[in-house]
C-alpha cells in the first residue's frame, strides 16, 4: 500500500574509535525512513547522535576514526556501500545539506555566485553563463534582494540570515530529492528564523523535496515537520506523527523535554528538569539508556534494552512502561 520511502535507514550504527583506545557508541541501531516530500524532525540534545546520523547519510564521517554499519537505501543506492565517486555524484545533487553556521560553511575567498555555480557545473555541466543565470534565479527564489548584484558579493558582506539563504540556494541548485538541514535556524534571531522556516515550507511545497530537519527546538519541529523522531544517547526513543508526539508523548524523555520548555499558555513556577546526566557512551548501560534519569523506572528497565515498540499506527516508543497514560490515571 505504501510507496517505497525515499530514504530507508536500517540498523544504522556509528562507532568512533578514539586515540585513547576507547570506543564511543554515537549512534546505535537507528531505523528511519522518510517518504517523498515529507519532513522528518530529528530531535534531541547535544551529543544524542542526531548530527552524526546526518553525517552518516551524507557519507561525511571520516573512515579512519569511525565505523559505520547497517544500511542506508536512497534512490536505488546503498549509501554505505556506494563508492566515493557515486557519493560525490549524489551529494550536492540529489542529496543536499544545510549546516547551522552559514559563515563557516561558505568559503570566504569566493563570491557566493562562484560557489553556487561550482555546484551547478559539477552536476549539470553546461556553460558558465547559463550556470550564472541559474545562480541568480536561485538567489531570487530564496528572496535575496537584487540577486544580480548579490551574486558577485563575498560571504562576509552578507548578514547571518542572508548567508543562510545563500546556503539554501546552493543546496537547491540541483533540485535535491532530500535536503538535510542541521539546526538551520539556531544561529538566527526569531524574526529571521520565522523567515527561513517560511522559506523552507514554501520550497518544500514547490519542489516536493523531502526534508530531514535536525534541531533541538521542539517549537521549530511543531511548525514544519510531519513526523518526529526523538533521539537519546544514540538511539531513537520515540517516533510519531507530529500531532501525536506533542499531544501524547509516549517516552518519558520526550515528556521531560516538553515539560522543560517554558510555555506561553502555562504558568509554572518551576519547569520540569531531567536530573542526572547522559550516560557515558563509551560504556552504555545494559538496560534502557534513560533509566537512571527516569521517574517511572522499574527494575525491569535496567535489565535488558527495551525494544522500539509500536503502540498505535505510526507511534513507537522505546519504553516498556508505555502507554504512559496508565501510569498517572
Amino acid at each position: 500500500m505504501m510507496a517505497s520511502p525515499l530514504i530507508d535507514i536500517q540498523r544504522l550504527r556509528v562507532l568512533f574509535h578514539g586515540d585513547d583506545g576507547r570506543t564511543t557508541h554515537a549512534v546505535d541501531s537507528v531505523d528511519l525512513s522518510v517518504a517523498h516530500g515529507a519532513t522528518l524532525g530529528l530531535v534531541g540534545e547535544s551529543g544524542c547522535g542526531k548530527s552524526v546520523t546526518s553525517l552518516a547519510i551524507m557519507g561525511l564521517l571520516s573512515k579512519q576514526s569511525s565505523e559505520v554499519s547497517g544500511s542506508i537505501r536512497f534512490d536505488g543506492f546503498d549509501l554505505l556501500t556506494a563508492g566515493d565517486e557515486t557519493l560525490r555524484d549524489l551529494r550536492g545533487n540529489r542529496l543536499a545539506m544545510i549546516f547551522q553556521e552559514p559563515m563557516t560553511s561558505l568559503n570566504p575567498s569566493f563570491t557566493i555566485g562562484d560557489q553556487i555555480i561550482e555546484t551547478i557545473l559539477r552536476h549539470r555541466g553546461g556553460s558558465r553563463r547559463s550556470a550564472r543565470e541559474r545562480a541568480i534565479q536561485l538567489l531570487r527564489r530564496v528572496h535575496i534582494p537584487s540577486p544580480e548584484k548579490r551574486v558577485d558579493e563575498y560571504p562576509h558582506k552578507l548578514s547571518g540570515g542572508m548567508r543562510q539563504r545563500v546556503m539554501i540556494a546552493m543546496a537547491l541548485a540541483c533540485d535535491p530529492r532530500l535536503l538535510i538541514a542541521d539546526e538551520p535556524t539556531t544561529a538566527l534571531d526569531v524574526t529571521l528564523q520565522a523567515q527561513i522556516l517560511e522559506l523552507m515550507r514554501e520550497l518544500r511545497s514547490e519542489s516536493g523535496a523531502a526534508i530531514i530537519l535536525i534541531t533541538h527546538d521542539l517549537g521549530v519541529v511543531a511548525e514544519v515537520c510531519d513526523e518526529v523522531a526523538v533521539m537519546y544517547a544514540g538511539e531513537i526513543v520515540e517516533r510519531a506523527a507530529v500531532d501525536d508526539l506533542f499531544a501524547s508523548p509516549q517516552h518519558p524523555y520526550t515528556v521531560g523535554l516538553l515539560g522543560s520548555i517554558p510555555r506561553l499558555d502555562r504558568r509554572a513556577d518551576h519547569l520540569a528538569t531531567i536530573e542526572g546526566m547522559v550516560p557515558n557512551m563509551a560504556n552504555p548501560p545494559a538496560g534502557c539508556r534513560f533509566a537512571a534519569r527516569c521517574p517511572f523506572v522499574l527494575d525491569a528497565c535496567t535489565r535488558a534494552p527495551p525494544p522500539l515498540r509500536e503502540l498505535s499506527p505510526g507511534h513507537a516508543s522505546r519504553c516498556i512502561r508505555a502507554p504512559l497514560e496508565r501510569l498517572v490515571s
Partner: protein, 382 residues
C-alpha cells in the same frame, strides 16, 4: 520609593572608522537614549534582535563601558560620579553572568580559586573562613562542595553556568545582570538554570536584568519587559500585559514569530520583510519604519517618544509605554501571540513527575533562606 536602578537617557556611540589623525568619522549608534528602571526583587527583561543594543545597555549600567551621555543611579547614587574605589565597592552590589560559560571562567583556576577571588578582592570573608563560604556557595547553586578543587573543563555547560552564578553571588549582590544566560544550553539543562535563578531570587531578594532573545523564556522569568530595536526602547510593559496585547508593531512581529511547541498553533504570524537596518546609519524618524507595515510619512520624519498608554479601563496597561506614532490606529492585538494551549491533564501529570523539589534548598545555610518557595511551588503545580 527610589528604584534600585534607574537609567536615564543612556547613549553610547562606538567609533566605527577613524581618519588619519585618529578622529572618529562614523559611529555605531549602539544605544541612543535608553531609560528604564528596576525595582528591588524584580526581573526586567531586555529583548530584541542581535545588534539592538541590549548587551551594550547591560554593560553600561555596570560601567563596564562608559556611556557618552545619560545617567545611571543605583539606590539613588549616581554611578557615573564614582571614583575607582567607589566603583569597586559598587561592584559588590551588581554582578553579571554571561552567555558562554566556556569563555567566562578562567581555565587555569580551580573552582575554589574562581569563587575565592571576589571574596578576597572585596575582603568579605577572612581567609580562614573562605573555604567554608566557597562550599556554601557551591551548595547554594546545587553543586557539591568537593567540586571546589576541580577545574572548569571538568564540568558540563550547565554546571559551568552554575559556577558563574555562584561567582556572581559570592559578593552578595542586589542586582545580577543575566546576559543570555541559558542560550548556550540544552533545553533540559536550561530549565534547571531557570529554576535556579528563580529560587535564588525568591530566597535572596535579588533583582535581575535578563537580556534575552528567547521570548518564551522571558515570559517565564520576567516581571516586566523592555523591547529594544536599534538602540532604543520601543515598548515597556508588565510581562503579562505585553504578551496579552503587544502594542508596538515591532513587538508584535517579535512575539508573533515565537515558535511554539504545538503543531497547527493558531497564529497570525507577522513576517518582517527585509533586515534590521545598520546602527551605523540608522533610519530617520522611527527606526523601525523601514520594516514596519504601518509606516506613514510622519514615521519617516519624526522620532516617536516612549509614552505611557492610557488604555480602556481594563486595569491591564497601567505601566505600558510605547513609542509609535500610530499606536491608536493599529489593528487590535488579538491573536498576535501564538497560543500553545498548555498541556492535556494527562500530560500535565506526567510532566509533574519531572518537577523536582528545589535542589539544595535545605542545606544552603544562607541568612535569608526560606525553604517555603520550592515546596509551595511543587504543591501548586500538582
Amino acid at each position: 520609593m527610589t528604584a534600585l536602578l534607574e537609567a536615564t537617557d543612556l547613549v553610547k556611540h562606538f567609533p566605527a572608522s577613524r581618519n588619519l589623525f585618529g578622529r572618529p568619522t562614523s559611529f555605531v549608534r549602539a544605544v541612543d537614549g535608553v531609560s528604564f528602571h528596576v525595582e528591588a526583587g524584580e526581573t526586567l527583561a531586555l529583548v530584541g534582535e542581535s545588534g539592538c543594543g541590549k548587551s551594550t545597555v547591560s554593560r553600561l549600567v555596570l560601567r563596564l563601558i562608559e556611556p557618552d551621555a545619560g545617567s545611571v543611579r543605583f539606590e539613588g547614587r549616581d554611578l557615573l560620579a564614582l571614583d575607582a574605589n567607589e566603583l569597586r565597592a559598587f561592584r559588590r552590589q551588581a554582578q553579571i553572568i554571561f552567555q558562554d560559560p566556556y569563555a567566562s571562567l578562567n581555565p587555569r583556576m580551580t573552582v575554589g580559586q574562581i569563587l575565592g577571588e571576589p571574596l578576597a578582592l572585596h575582603e568579605l570573608v577572612p581567609p580562614n573562613a573562605r573555604r567554608a563560604r566557597i562550599e556554601e556557595l557551591l551548595r547554594l547553586v546545587g553543586l557539591e562542595p568537593r567540586f571546589a578543587r576541580r577545574y572548569p573543563h571538568e564540568f558540563s555547560g550547565g554546571q559551568r553556568q552554575r559556577i558563574a552564578i555562584a561567582r556572581a553571588l559570592a559578593v552578595e549582590p542586589k542586582l545580577i545582570i543575566c546576559d543570555e544566560p541559558v542560550s548556550a544550553l540544552d533545553v533540559s539543562i536550561r530549565s534547571q538554570i531557570l529554576n535556579l535563578l528563580r529560587d535564588l531570587q525568591d530566597r535572596l531578594g535579588l533583582s535581575y536584568i535578563f537580556v534575552s532573545h528567547d521570548l518564551a523564556v522571558v515570559k517565564h522569568i520576567a516581571d516586566r519587559v523592555a523591547v529594544m530595536n536599534l538602540g532604543g526602547i520601543v515598548e515597556t510593559a508588565e510581562t503579562d500585559a505585553l504578551f496579552a496585547a503587544p502594542l508596538h508593531p515591532y513587538s508584535r512581529a517579535l512575539l508573533s514569530a515565537i515558535p511554539v511547541p504545538k503543531p497547527q498553533a493558531k497564529r497570525a504570524r507577522i513576517i518582517l520583510q527585509g533586515e534590521m537596518p545598520s546602527a551605523l546609519n540608522p533610519p530617520s524618524g522611527c527606526r523601525f519604519h523601514t520594516r514596519c507595515p504601518f509606516t506613514v510619512e510622519r514615521c519617516r520624519l519624526e522620532v516617536p517618544e516612549l509614552r505611557q498608554e492610557q488604555r480602556h479601563g481594563t486595569g491591564h496597561a497601567i505601566n505600558h509605554a510605547v513609542a509609535c506614532h500610530r499606536v491608536g490606529e493599529l489593528p487590535p492585538a488579538e491573536a498576535v501571540v501564538p497560543s500553545d494551549g498548555g498541556f492535556s491533564p494527562v500530560l500535565e501529570k506526567l510532566v509533574a513527575a519531572f518537577s523536582h523539589p528545589v535542589e539544595a534548598a535545605a542545606v544552603a545555610g544562607v541568612n535569608k533562606v526560606s525553604t517555603s518557595g520550592g515546596a509551595e511551588a511543587e504543591g501548586r503545580e500538582r
